[in-house]
Amino acid sequence: MAAQSRSSEMEFLAEEMIIEIEARFNHPPLKLIRGTFGPFYPNQRAKVPLWLGLSLKKQKKCRLVLPEWLDSEHLAEVLRQERAQEGIFQDLPFYYVEIATLLLATAADEFPMPDRTRSLVEDIENVRMEKIRRGLQGMSDTVLRGRSVMSTKMNHVGAMEITTVRGFLTEAMGLFYTLSGQEVVAQGGG
């Protein structure tokens, strides 16, 4: 499937994550397909799916409570660790890019330092992308050393990162498999 539609899908799925809001309205419990949320009272916290939180925020019906991992100090530490530890990825939410992007776009006023947060997330993305690139390069080096590449390990990798390299990774591994000579092909006419 085209990578473009995949990133819309990833964002859609990211919006299912639960976020805390501080309601500015009164409402009895909301029965949604995935569960019941609320009841809602002014100035009381409640948990809702992200898409609902964003929609309410846009209508100025609530405040959004930022997830803890989006705190700038925490992100700065994640970035430090990401740079320090070579072959592994730090433990971030699967949809960290999508969630950060959506919150920064819709609820920038909830961030103490939105620009700093945005740039930290970008730096983290770039460091991780570079690790993925090195991992892909490593695959071909493995083949050059005469070993076959059947799988590759990417712990804690994010949705956006997968979407970006999915096409290349599957195509490359398919080619390595073809070139390994192990593929069984039906011979026509014989």
Binding site: Q4, S7, E11, T164, V165, R166, F168, E171, F176, Q187
Partner: protein, 204 residues
Amino acid sequence: MDRGYFSVDAILAAEDRVPVVFNTMAASLGFLDPACKDEDLPARSRVELPLWLALALQAKNMVRVELPRHYSARFREDLLAGPDAVDIRERSAFFYETGTALARVKRDDHLQRTMRMVFAGPRFRHILDASLNSGGDDMTDFLQDLPHAERALFHAGSQGSKAQEAYKKGTHAQLGIAEVLKGGSAPVDRTVGGQGGKESNPSL
């Protein structure tokens, strides 16, 4: 590359010409060899046939398939010495695919291994870097010299990175409501045959 019996890539690749030597005389096939004046093709004639036909005839022991010059031992040395310096596409757009089929038929592990080394070396690195980093650059020069399999790899990579850029810029499409679910002023007639329900059949 799409795989399987109906793989378009495999079908196109099998059109590549390979030299064969006829084991027996072939009646009325003299036209296959431009140098032959007779109606019948004599045994030991060397002729170029498409791979699919060559393999089919070899399976019946009518011909012996030979390796085209770009799979010869000499060419392999040149390739291994400088994989990214050789214009592979000029020899065959389906270099890897045809080569793999020939390596299987001739049981030539060295040929298979050579192609692996050629692909996995600097060529792979260039394609990886170019496809993930090229942004909006014009890559036609780069792509021009790439055989089919490498072009496919490049496109797979560049689609992914372009999609990521589009997301960052906010130019990606948003998922919307399916047309059939959008409300309208008139109730949608979902009955089979289109006769409607209670509204259009007041007698019910």
